[in-house]
Point group: C2
Chain length 210, copies 2
């Protein structure tokens, strides 16, 4: 059964694609055009009632929220491809902790920064300089905690690559690329080493080529 992934051009679905590639799971990408409002169509809302990306269809099984989808495949195919959850319940606890840190502390400001720097004019509102400044400050504080953590372990949850690291890829790629904030990563020695490692994984390079 090929997994259908909706909205492959956008950041949150890219998390899911990277995860599926790491696990060696075949997928079919189904484009969703947000500019045309396809995420508000009755057909899409039947799959994802909040009208956001991504959602997957795997036979009869429909699932949304990128981090929930990643957990599902990482657990269902635990022993296939890269293990992304740690080797025991204590390691998985730390994967969950850092995945929550990504979702609760890192994602909100980097999402706001992305919207105001990259998409404000396309979405028809002026970029808010105050939000940009506050978001940068919040991201910097989170990266300071990562710097300390990554001085003691190779990856966020320990010495193994996991969903917690993977989940940072799409928006950090915007940060170092089109948002011209590469210095926020390169000025932090351990974060920089970590970013080089995770962003050079074949799975992520493949996602960027899609």
């Amino acid at each position: 059964m090929v997994v259908k992934v909706y909205g492959p051009a956008y950041a949150c679905p890219k998390r899911v694609l990277a995860c599926l590639i790491e696990k060696g799971i075949q997928f079919e990408a189904v484009p969703v055009d947000l500019i045309k409002g396809e995420h508000r169509s009755p057909e899409y809302l039947k799959l994802q009632p909040f009208g956001v990306l991504p959602v997957i269809q795997d036979g009869d099984y429909i699932l949304y929220e990128s981090r929930a989808i990643m957990r599902y495949y990482a657990e269902k195919y635990k022993s296939q491809g890269t293990d992304l959850l740690g080797k025991n319940v204590e390691e998985r606890g730390l994967v969950e902790q850092w995945l929550e840190v990504e979702a609760q502390n890192y994602h909100p400001p980097i999402y706001d920064l992305t919207i105001h720097i990259l998409f404000a004019s396309a979405l028809g509102f002026p970029a808010d300089e105050k939000i940009i400044k506050e978001s940068e400050e919040k991201i910097a504080k989170v990266l300071d905690v990562y710097e300390e953590r990554l001085s003691k372990s190779k990856y966020l949850a320990g010495d193994f690559f996991s969903l917690a690291d993977l989940s940072h890829l799409p928006f950090t790629q915007y940060l170092v690329g089109p948002m011209n904030r590469e210095h926020m990563i390169s000025s932090r020695k351990h974060v920089s080493r970590w970013w080089n490692e995770i962003s050079n994984r074949p799975s992520w390079k493949k996602v960027l080529q899609l």
Copy 2:
């Protein structure tokens, strides 16, 4: 080993307490006074580098982020007490989906509403009426999706109580109690039935008595 839970008086740690009670796990509550700034003390920051609640200590094992802690204990003691993760990987996928919906869609506006209605004066800033109105509108939209979902299943992830339901307890308790927004729940038939069921669980009543 008794689990130490820091900050039992506050909403996010209450999620963890309800989970531990459902699982029949003994714990010791360690008060943290946010007004006195105890969450900014060097000792606390060693346990939780972001300076937020909760964090648990279980022997040498330290874990933070309420939803990560709940997942850890729900998985570690899967067959003890109430099963909160579903009986197979597909059910767990749906638990994770609705837990993410709680974290990403429900929590941010209900947190903002709580801060501005209940804590603004204590924290020394004026309540922002615009934020209050926007937060209420966002919560209402999420509850409309829940109403549809709960017309088809007893609980959010299916016909079983799970972490996804449990995670809604602390802030919804503020909503129907001190925030005087009980009508947001009672005006929705299925949400109202669901709230009555989950808020009357012995575990939650015990948390409220602590």
